[in-house]
């Protein structure tokens, strides 16, 4: 019985939310920060296709039984966000950390693409 109800809530589509995202660049690469409060580590997926980084996470902060709500301004939802990434990004070394409801993704630059000085030889 409980399994059935669980399956029912699972199949009901959650409202889709595009999480607030910061994209910024520092010397060691690009950083993407996403606000995904309420998403546990096991409910978060990060997929990389060719040029797209897709983040999906479920926030299951369902109301506890017996509680009556006086005011509701957020609720369960599915966070979905895609970010295009360029060829300059080293796909093998992408790191993602989830802490306090913020997902931070570090996209390091490819070694060969980082700026360097070209030594000049005297002929």
């Amino acid at each position: 019985m409980t399994e059935q109800t669980a399956a029912k809530t699972e199949s009901k589509p959650l409202p889709r939310v595009s999480p607030a995202t910061d994209i910024l660049e520092r010397e060691d690469g690009f950083y993407v920060y996403m606000d995904i409060p309420g998403v546990r580590r096991e409910d978060l997926k990060i997929d990389i296709n060719e040029n797209e980084l897709l983040v999906t996470g479920r926030a299951m902060q369902g109301p506890a039984e017996k509680e009556t709500f006086l005011e509701v301004q957020f609720g369960p939802g599915e966070y979905v966000r895609a970010v295009s990434i360029s060829d300059l990004v080293d796909r093998e070394n992408i790191k993602a950390v989830l802490k306090d409801g913020v997902l931070s993704i570090h996209l390091p630059r490819l070694e060969k693409a980082s700026p360097r000085r070209i030594p000049i030889q005297t002929a």
Binding site: P15, R16, S18, A20, T21, D22, I23, L24, E25, R26, F30, Y31, V32, Y33, D35, I36, P37, G38, V39, R40, E52, Q61, P63, A64, K66, E67, T68, F69, L70, E71, V72, Q73, F74, G75, A82, V83, S84, I85, S86, L88, V89, K99, D100, G101, V102, L107
Partner: protein, 137 residues
Amino acid sequence: MVLDFNTLYAFPGRFDRLLEDFFKPQLADGRRMAYPPLNLSEDETAYYVRSEVPGMPLDALDLTLTDKSLVIKGERPVEQGKYFRQERPAGFFQRVVALNAPVDRDGVRATLVDGVLTVILPKCEECKPRKISVDVG
């Protein structure tokens, strides 16, 4: 360069999302404007104040319980770097929850899990409804 062009391209697959965003009910009222969003609920034993405060450790949040209100204060830091896109709010925020019911002030607890703050304000014993037995004299 990392750029989020997806929102700019008129991608056929994104059209449904556009409609979805357009009909989003919570954007119709102005309540989403207040930051951070709050959920207020109660059961028989306590009041619950829940709030989405991503990126804040519990010690960076300032919770004050006054006579008639609960104040949630904090500051979200700004990341250093060259921004391509900034959607996350930054800076000071404050929300005041008016408490029009007596609570057990010593039993108030706050937890923070995955960026969701939960403050539990137990109802005080004296204010719970009680049955009064009537003795027939």
